[in-house]
Every structure is written in C-alpha cells, then in structure tokens.
C-alpha cells in the first residue's frame, strides 16, 4: 500500500513539473505593469498609460521618436490664428468597441470631464489654457466655453492666450472616453467607476478580462482604423515590485519591462545582457533629474552659498562611476533635455570639499541639530546614493538624518510646512515645460519658497512658440539662472535600463528609437504592426 502511495505521489510530482509553460503561446505579447494603475481610471492615475495606447486613445499621441505627433482620433487640425484657435477634423467611420459610432460629442464630453472640478482630476490642469477654464473650475460656468462641437466630425477649441505648441504639449495627455457610457455617471463617481475595469475604447485592442493585481487581457480589434493588429492579444501582467519583473524577463514569463516605477536595477544588467533572448537598453534616458530638495523658507538653506556648498561637497562623479555603474550623467540644472541646456556658461560644481567649507564659512553656517532629510525611493541604488551623500556632507560639517516616508506622509509634511531637506526626482522627459511646478513663484507644494520672476517669464516665453529654436533660447537662459541660484541641488540625470524579448518583432526596435522615457502620456509606437516571431 505504501509503495503504491509513493508511486502515485511521485507521478503527480512529475506531471506538475513537466507541464510546459504556456507562456510561449504565439500571438500573445506579455507586458509588465506596476500595481495600482488600473482601478482609479485614466483621469486619476499617473501610470497605466499603456492602456491609453491600446484601448482608449486621444485625439493625437506623441510619436515614439519623441518628435511630432501622430494623428489618432483627429485626422487633421489647423490653427489659422497662430495658436489661439484649433479646429480638429475627426476621423470618420470610427466606432467604439461596443459598436456605437464615435462623434464630436465624445470629444466635447471628455474635455469637459477632465476639467470638471467635481471630477477632481489632476490632469485637468492640462486644459488650463482653454478659454473658460477658470470659470468652469470656480463654478461660475457649467462647462468649458472654449470647446465646441461643429457637426459630428469637427471640434473647435479656443485658448485664452495663443500657444502654438498646445497640441504637442498639452492635448496629448487627454484620452477620449465614451459619452454614451460615462455621460450617465455623476462626476464625483468617475474615479473608481466600474468602467475602468472594463474599458470601452476605440483603440487597436479590445478589453477582455481584468483580474485584480494579476493581469489585464486585451484582444485584437479587427476593425481598428489604422488596420487590424497582427498580435492576437496583449496581456499586461501586474507586479508589485521590480525584482520579480527582472526574474520573469529572464524566465520568459514576461516580454517587456515596465518603465513606470523604476527600471532594471544596475546590478542586474550584466546578468541580463548575457541572455540571447533579450535586448537590453542599459542607458535608456529616463528624462528624470534627481536633486536635493530644499525648503528655502528655512533660514539654514536660504543662502545660495550653502546650497552651492553642498554640491561642491558631494563627489557626484564618483557616485556615478561606482554606485550607478557608469549609468546616468551629472546634472547641473533642471532640464534633462540636451536641447534645453546651453553648451557652456554653467558652473559644473566639480567635487571640491575645500571650496565647500569656504562657502559654508562665508555664509556663516553653524550646524547644531541634524537636518531632517526625507526620501521616497527605497531601491538599493538610491539608498546607497543617499548613504554616500550623507557621508560627503558630514565630511564638511553638515549632518543629515535620512528618513524614508511614503507619499501620504511626505505630502503631509509639505502641507504642514515642516519640510527641511530631501532627495527627490521629477519625471519630465516629454518637455522642459514640465519642470515649471518645481521653480515657479509660489507654486505649491514644490517650489518651497523659491521665487524668481525672471525664470517665470522665461517659462512663459517657452510656451509661446512652437519653434524648437525659439523655445530653446528661453529654456537655455532659464537653465543658466537655475544653475547659478541652485534652488534645488542638481545631482543626476537618471537612466532607466529596459529589456525586451526579441521574439516580439517591433518591440525592441521601437524602443531603441525612443530617445527617452515619456512619462504619463500615451506613446504611439505602431503596436498594431508588431508580430510574434516564430
């Protein structure tokens, strides 16, 4: 009896172990996604935008090359008055995934939804240039005056001041949602509505199934307006932390790294690069400057010399060489985009502890109690960086006490005005203008007491033209000021290493051509043309 039992158990074990993994099924692309990005909905999250490329869509999407936009639901548009009024001609014959025709009504509804104060979407601010936005937000008006439908296939949008680059910079953040479904939902119930776990869109893939904290499955949309996709389906697999994704990339349980919430840790790169089936992009620009954040209202940090001294005190090159494994570059100003920075004329803040001590003495630095130093990132590389920073600052007589806090606590510290110093980063790869909230006069909560009207004017100038050369001039001037005044202690421009499985034809190729991580926006990367190699 015992022997038969043993035999049965071992047979079961063999069956369990020998079953082939079905992750190799052809026609399925598996993409990693971080947790917490689905249920709140597109209007309220800062991640999960892959779903806004494949299921929902906008009028236009930014192209994967980072330059120019791809017309999506808008076939074309014109602005005869240099950026004050935009007339969009919508694509005809487009249907929602449930068969209802897509019309201008959906566009008007969607823009109003984003801007509606009762919906409280943080992305509503992207429409702040639209005429009537302030009235709508204060409650004086019940809709956006500047958005009008003309017939079923044209939408006219009027801005309050001319912004030639408005489409390329602001409109791309807006997804169009179905009026016939969400129009019935009261505005305050939009967030977390059950629509978001069963989305109806116009995109190349149709929402099939969602299992909480496990995956989202989307399948081919045969009648997609740019042509039926070649892939059968995409499965977005949800992970709580990065090391599990790295393991899954190696075992081929997943095909693509997610770039929201961290890339591949530097320590794992050499291991992954040895694998034949992966294309690894170790130096993928993250468009993410990291910096020391100061509360300028705190007397200790009010003197620019103190802030400059800290930069001289830290050997940032050594940190890049050692802790970051050579990845990333020194940052000496706000903008990670090379075109927004001048070729020369900025202080490089090279490692010079002597100069640091001198500046501190000049500024009258006398440290008694340690500085409360707050940080949010808990991955090994950043923790090591902070350890090194602490050590370097201690060597010149500045004592910081690092404290790890979660976002709720950090925002509360800002709100209470108790913030002293910290280590932060800002995802602004898309455009230099995204850095404005960090340095604009009295911008809460991030400018923390910095105010220079010259910088504000330069940012405004940057938005007033669509010509890259004109804009660059404005931002380069701002870069010089910010480099000199050090409102934040500029540290690094980060990289976000990514890896992709070669069996998905089109996936690694498009990311190789993408210049940097484009946070928080849907990116058009021709996903309908991708296939699975046999």
């Amino acid at each position: 009896m015992k022997r038969e039992l043993m035999a049965a158990v071992s047979m079961a074990a063999v069956v369990v172990m020998a079953s082939p993994s079905s992750a190799q099924q052809s026609g399925t692309f598996r993409s990693a996604m971080r947790t917490g990005c689905v249920e709140q909905g597109t209007l309220h999250t800062t991640c999960g935008h892959r779903l806004d490329e494949t299921v929902l869509q906008g009028l236009v999407h930014i192209k994967w090359t980072g330059e120019g936009v791809q017309p999506m639901l808008a076939e074309s548009w014109a602005t005869p008055d240099g950026g004050k009024t935009f007339t969009f001609k919508l694509r005809s014959g487009v249907k929602w995934h449930d068969g209802t025709p897509f019309t201008a009504k959906d566009v008007v509804f969607s823009l109003n939804l984003y801007a509606n104060p009762k919906v409280a979407s943080p992305w509503g601010v992207k429409l702040s240039s639209v005429a009537g936005y302030d009235d709508f937000k204060s409650g004086a008006a019940s809709e956006l005056r500047g958005v009008k439908a003309i017939g079923d296939d044209t939408v006219r949008i009027e801005l309050s001041t001319a912004q030639p680059a408005w489409v390329e910079l602001q409109l791309i953040a807006i997804s169009i949602v179905p009026e016939h479904i969400l129009g019935k939902v009261p505005p305050q119930d939009i967030v977390g509505n059950k629509f978001w776990i069963n989305r109806v869109g116009t995109g190349p893939f149709i929402w099939k199934e969602y299992q909480s904290d496990r995956f989202i499955e989307v399948v081919r949309n045969q009648s997609y307006f740019l042509g039926a996709p070649k892939l059968d389906r995409i499965v977005y697999q949800i992970y709580k932390d990065v090391p599990s994704i790295v393991t899954a990339l190696e075992t081929q349980e997943v095909d693509a790294m997610s770039y929201e919430g961290g890339g591949i840790p530097v320590s794992e790169l050499s291991r992954l690069q040895k694998l034949q089936h992966l294309t690894v992009l170790p130096k993928f620009n993250a468009g993410l400057p990291t910096y020391l954040q100061f509360n300028l209202a705190d007397a200790r940090f009010a003197d620019a010399r103190v802030r400059q001294a800290m930069l001289y005190a830290i050997d940032r090159s050594a940190i890049i060489e050692t802790i970051k494994g050579g990845a990333g570059e020194l940052s000496n100003t706000l903008f990670p985009q090379a075109w927004a920075r001048p070729e020369s004329g900025m202080e490089s803040y090279a490692y010079d502890p002597e100069k640091a001590r001198r500046l501190l003495k000049e500024a009258g630095w006398s440290s008694t109690k340690p500085i409360d130093f707050i940080y949010y990132y808990s991955d090994q590389m950043n923790v090591d960086t902070i350890t090194a920073v602490q050590s370097y600052l201690a060597a010149v007589g500045i004592e910081i006490k690092p404290r790890l806090l979660d976002p709720a606590a950090i925002n509360q510290v800002y709100a209470d005005g108790k913030f002293e110093m910290g280590f932060f980063a800002q995802g602004m790869g898309l455009d230099p203008s995204l850095g404005e909230p960090l340095v604009k006069c009295n911008a809460k909560p991030l400018s923390l007491g910095y105010c220079n009207p010259e910088v504000d004017a330069l940012f405004a100038k940057g938005m007033s033209s669509a010509d890259r050369k004109e804009r660059a001039a404005a931002y380069r001037a701002a870069a010089v000021v910010l480099n000199r005044e050090v409102p934040k202690g500029w540290l690094f421009n980060e990289v976000r290493p990514l890896a992709f499985n070669n069996r998905v034809e089109g996936l690694p190729q498009h990311f190789k051509e993408q210049p940097l991580v484009i946070f928080n926006h849907a990116v058009y990367n021709e996903v309908e043309k991708w296939t699975i190699k046999k």
Partner: protein, 318 residues
C-alpha cells in the same frame, strides 16, 4: 454547550468593537490621508481640488464622526468603498480571499501533516540518529526567515533549474488550469511550510513523548498488542489533542496571509491588498480587513475550544 457558545460570542462583541476603535484611531493618527497619498510630483493638485476631494470622502469630519459613519454603514451590511479605487471594499476583499486561502491552506495542511508525522517518528525513535537529525533540522527550520527561503527557492527552482514558475498564481491571461495553478503554488507554499512544519514537528514530538510514558500505553503493551496498533490507535489520538489547539491558533493566519511571501511571489492575496491600503491610507479597506480578520479569529477560537472539548473526554463545557 450552547450557552457556552453564546457567552463567548457576547463577550467577543466588545472585543471586536475595541479592536476597530483602536485600529481606526491609530490609522487616523498616521501622517497624511488618502487624498495626500494620491498627490504626486508629476500631477500636483491645487488646494481647492484637495479640499473638495476631502469633502467627498468625508475626511474633513472629526474622527469620531468618521468612525460612527463607518460603524453605522457596517451595521447595515455595507463595508463602504475604497478611498483610492472607489470600488466596494467587500468586492476587493472577497476577490482575493480564495487565493490567500489556497496558499495558506495548502501550506498549513502540508506542514501539519508532515510535521506531525515527522514528530511522531522522532519521538518513537528517541535517542537514535533519526531523532537527532530531525531535531537539528527542526531547529534549522525555524531559524530561516520566510522571505529569505522564498528567494533561495526561486533562485534554485525557477532560475537555475527552470522547473517551476517564479511568480503569480497561474499563467496570466490563460484559462484556469489546475495543473498550472499547482505549479505556481509549489514554491510559495514550500517557503511558508518549512517554518510551520518545524514548529508542528516539535509540538508533535513532545506531545507524543508525553503520551508514550503514560500508564495506558504500558497497559496496551502488556496486553500484547502490536506496536503499530498501540501507536496509532492509542497513542496518536491522545497526542493529537494538544496539537489541535496549536493548529487552531494558526488558523487566523489562513485569512491574514503572509505579506512577505505574497510580495516575493506576486501571489494576489489579501496580505498585499492590506499593506497597500495602509500605505495609501485607505481607511475603508483597512477597517474592512480588520473587521473580517477579527471575526474569523473569534470564530476560530470558539471552534478550537469546541474541537478540544470533543476530542478530550476529560474536558466538558456547560
């Protein structure tokens, strides 16, 4: 018997209320609230927006008002909606309970069966090598943290040997298959089971040893019964009694899950949901979880007492 149960339930209610009050108080005292948790640097919100959202969620009320609103809702059978995702708390929790139950249930059953068996063997072979080996193995088993063991298992069986998948509870997107699910279950259950097997083994061993010295065992031997019969019919049954208590004490973890193992193996269980809720200051989810866990603890305590009474003829309740 009935009065005993009723009395326990009645005494349990103030405990339940007390737990919810204390947890609510501590959770509310944490810096920041759900609205603060949702603000990020890339999407800063204006102050009016923040104030309005707070009003919508009722976070601008004094704490005792928030608590009573929640309690009133619960008494009407409604666990409320998540502050962060807006979904009904009951849906969020019960969606994931089966996954936690599966993992913890398998781990507990395997460790109970294996631990008891090994403990009995160890007791029967006292003073022999088997006993020493098992005892040392038992000590070692409780000295390795769960998460560490989990990582080692993933390393050996997923990465190096490629026998088993590294995470998840099934291949995502595919229809549910029992074999696929079991393959995903092996490693996390093993990570959880080692520690518990060692614990059960120790208890089983000492319990069996105590039983072996009892008079009735000697009587059975004197009667000439075969060793197997003695051990199984007389010894084991009595040795199991205290083990039932120990097992009963571990049943609450069936529902609590193990956050650490769920993180490493991306097992979509309730432990993970709960930790995220704490970080996000999602009070309704926190309170829903606490309430359900407390109820389960209370029920399992009563059931354990009853089981103990049923198994041990010396104990009686009235």
């Amino acid at each position: 018997m009935l009065t005993y149960i009723l009395r326990k339930i009645l005494l349990g209610i103030p405990v339940l209320l007390g737990v919810t009050v204390v947890v609510f108080a501590i959770a509310s005292a944490m810096p920041g609230d759900a609205v603060m948790a949702m603000i990020t640097a890339e999407a800063p919100s204006s102050e009016e927006l923040i104030a309005m959202r707070r009003g919508q969620l009722g976070l601008d009320q004094p704490i005792w008002v928030q608590y009573s609103t929640w309690l009133w809702q619960v008494l009407q059978g409604n666990l409320g909606r998540s502050f962060i995702t807006g979904r009904p708390v009951a849906d969020m929790i019960f969606e994931r309970v089966p996954y936690t139950l599966e993992l913890m249930g398998v781990a507990l059953l395997v460790s109970f069966a294996l631990g008891t068996a090994l403990g009995v063997v160890s007791a029967l072979r006292q003073y022999h090598t088997t006993d020493y080996v098992l005892t040392v193995a038992g000590f070692a088993g409780v000295a390795i943290p769960d998460f560490f063991l989990g990582m080692l298992l993933v390393y050996v069986f997923s990465l190096e040997l490629r026998w088993l998948p590294s995470s998840g509870m099934g291949t995502a997107g595919d229809a549910f298959s029992l074999v696929d699910n079991l393959r995903h279950l092996v490693l996390p259950a093993a990570a959880l089971a080692l520690f518990r097997t060692a614990i059960f083994m120790r208890y089983a061993r000492s319990s069996m040893l105590e039983v072996l010295t009892q008079d009735y065992m000697r009587t059975a031997r004197a009667k000439g019964l075969s060793r197997i019969t003695i051990v199984l019919r007389h010894g084991l049954r009595n040795a199991l009694i205290p083990l039932v208590t120990v097992f009963g004490l571990t049943t609450p973890t069936l529902f609590g899950g193990s956050v650490v193992v769920e993180t490493i193996f991306q097992w979509p269980g309730i432990g993970l949901l709960f930790i995220n809720a704490v970080i996000d200051r999602d009070s309704p989810v926190i309170m829903g979880y606490v309430l359900i866990t407390a109820l389960i603890v209370m029920i399992s305590n009563i059931l354990t007492d009853l089981a103990y009474g049923a198994l041990d003829p010396r104990v009686s309740y009235d």
